[in-house]
Amino acid sequence: MRILVAVDRNPYSANSVEVVAKLAANTWANVTILGVLSKGHSQSSSPVSSQEWNMEHPLPKALQDYQKTFLSHFKEEECPYTQRDFGYELVERRKGVWEELYVAKSARKNLRARIRMGNPAKEILAEAQEEEMDLIVIGCDHSSGCEWEGLGGIPQKVVNDATCSVLVAKEEKTVNRIVCCLDHDLVSQQSLEMINQLVTLHNAKLEIVGLTEGDELKIEVERKMDAILQYYTTRGLEPLIEIVELSSLDAFISQEAKWGLMALWMGKKSILEKVFPRRKVSKLIQGSESSVLILR
C-alpha cells in the first residue's frame, strides 16, 4: 500500500501525519510526506520561485519534524522505515550504465519527504498519479470551511480529481463511528481492508449503508452486503447495516457526517457518483465536522 500525506505547516497537517503513522503502523505502507510550495499563494511568506527557496525555508524544516513525528509511532527495533545496513550495490544510473554505489539498504518500507512547487491541488494529484498512490491523506482547517494553506477548495479538488482513495482528515473530533456508503457493484478488497484499518485505528463502530431506489434492496445488492457483513464479522467487527433510499441520501449524509467519519465508495461507474455529484462531495467536505474518506 502506498500512502501520500499532503502537508503544509498548519496544525491539521500534523494531525494528518499522526493519522497516517497510525495507519502505517498496522499496514506497513510506503509513505510519502509531500509539502507543496505554492507559487504566489503562500500563506505566510511571499511568492517563492525554485531559485529562491532553500533548506532555510520553513517547509523543509516542517517536513523533517513530520518525519520525526511519524517515526515516533514505531519502536526503533521494529520500525520498518529505519535504514539499517550500508553496503555497495550496483545501481543503474542511466539506461545501460550501472555504477556500484555505497547505499543504505534494507529499510523494509519507504518513508519519503518530498517538496513540489506549484499549484497545491495539481501537485498533490500529480505526485499521486506518478507514484501510483493508493491513498491520499490531506488535512484542512475545519473552522474556516476546510481551507488548506489559507486557500479554499484544495482538498475538495483533490478529492474530486484523484483516481485513488482520499481521506480528508479533520482534527477536532474523535471518530466513534465509520459510516460506509457502498458502491454496490465495485467494492474492492483494498477498500474493505482500508475501512477495516480505520475501524481498528479509531476503535470505532462500523456501519455499512445499502442504497436502494425503492422500499427494498435488490437481491444482488443484499448478497453483496451479506458478503461484506460476513467479511467484517469474521474479522471480529460487528458492523451495523442501514438501508437508505437514494432520494434521502443527502439528508442521511448530512445527518451522519455530524457523528462519524463518512466513507463513500465513488468509482467511475458508482451509483454514488451519479446521485452524489462533485459539488455535493465538495459541500460535504467543506461542512462536515468529521473526516471524510472517498474510496475508489
Binding site: 463502530k205 456501519e207 422500499d215 451479506d226 451495523l240 447495516i241 438501508i243
Partner: protein, 278 residues
C-alpha cells in the same frame, strides 16, 4: 424451554434474524422453529385451480426449500436448536398466525433491516400479524453483540406485562441489563437528565415507584440491573443512549402502538427490538 418461531426467506433480513436468534439460543437454549411461506398474496398468482394449482405450489416450495435448507444447514452446526423449516404456500400473515395458533410459541422472530426511512418499521405494527399476535415479537435489525440489553419503561408501562415475559423469553441469557426510564417529549423540547438530578426535577414519586418496582420484579427473577437512568428527550435524541445495546426491550399498548412515541423511539434503534404487548 422457550419455543420461538422465526420467519425465514432468502432475504438479508432473514439471514440476519437467524444469526441473531442462534446467538440468543446459544445463551438461552431457546428452541428455534423456522417457517417459510411462499407468499401468494404479494407474489405470483397461481395458474388455475385444483391439480394445476397444487403442482405449481409444490414447484414453488421445492425451489424455495433448497435455498432455505442451505441457509439452515450453514447455521445448524453452531446452532443445534435450529429446526428444519415448516414450508407452506399462502398469505404470509395468515399462515404465520395460523402456525402461532396451532402451536404454542413463546416468541415470534423476524428480520427487518434498519432503515433511515422509519415507515417500514412503523408500518409493521399496523399489520394484522402484529396486531393479532399474542406472544412477544423480536424484530432483528442487526446482528450485533448480545452482551448488553436495556429495558425501556415509561410512566404508563405495565410492568406485569413486561418483566415476566422478558424473564421468560431470556431466562438463562448472559446479559448485562440496564433499565432506562424514558420521558418522551415532542422534538424541540430537549433535555437530558440522569440519576439524582432527574429525581429532583421530574415527578419523583413516579420515577421512584416505577424504577424501584421494575428492579424489584427483576430481582425476584434473578436479574439485577447494572444501571438505571432517566432520560427526558424526543425519541430521536434518546436513541444515542441506546447505541451500546444489542437488545432493546419494551412494551406497547395494542390500542395506541402506532401513534406512540415509544414506537417512534424503537424505530430509531439500530439493534434488535423485543416488544411485549400490554
Amino acid at each position: 424451554m422457550i419455543r420461538a418461531l422465526i420467519f425465514v426467506d432468502n432475504r438479508l433480513a432473514s439471514r440476519i434474524a437467524l444469526r441473531y436468534a442462534c446467538r440468543l439460543a446459544k445463551q438461552t437454549g431457546m428452541d428455534l422453529q423456522t417457517i417459510h411461506i411462499e407468499d401468494t398474496e404479494h407474489g405470483d398468482t397461481p395458474p388455475g385451480t385444483g391439480w394445476v394449482k397444487s403442482t405449481w405450489e409444490k414447484g414453488l416450495l421445492v425451489s424455495a426449500g433448497a435455498e432455505i435448507s442451505q441457509l439452515i444447514n450453514e447455521l445448524k452446526p453452531t446452532c443445534p436448536t435450529l429446526r428444519k423449516p415448516k414450508m407452506c404456500v399462502g398469505a404470509r400473515e395468515t399462515e404465520i398466525l395460523r402456525e402461532l395458533e396451532h402451536t404454542p410459541y413463546d416468541l415470534f422472530i423476524e428480520g427487518g433491516l434498519f432503515s433511515f426511512n422509519k415507515s417500514g418499521f412503523l408500518g409493521r405494527f399496523g399489520t394484522k400479524l402484529y396486531r393479532e399476535i399474542s406472544c412477544p415479537i423480536l424484530v432483528v435489525k442487526n446482528v450485533g453483540d448480545i452482551k448488553k440489553a436495556v429495558i425501556l419503561i415509561e410512566d404508563t408501562t405495565d410492568l406485569w406485562s413486561l418483566i415476566p415475559r422478558f424473564f421468560r423469553t431470556l431466562e438463562g441469557a448472559d446479559l448485562e441489563l440496564d433499565i432506562l426510564h424514558v420521558k418522551l417529549q415532542k422534538p424541540g423540547r430537549l433535555s437530558f437528565k440522569e440519576g439524582a438530578e432527574a429525581m429532583k426535577t421530574s415527578s419523583v414519586e413516579d420515577v421512584d415507584k416505577i424504577i424501584i418496582s421494575a428492579k424489584q420484579m427483576l430481582g425476584e427473577t434473578g436479574w439485577s440491573p447494572q444501571k438505571t437512568r432517566v432520560i427526558r428527550d424526543a425519541p430521536a435524541g434518546i436513541v444515542d443512549s441506546l447505541q451500546e445495546y444489542g437488545l432493546v426491550v419494551s412494551c406497547l399498548s395494542r390500542q395506541t402502538a402506532r401513534k406512540s412515541s415509544m414506537l417512534e423511539l424503537l424505530s430509531h434503534v439500530p439493534s434488535a427490538v423485543l416488544v411485549c404487548w400490554q
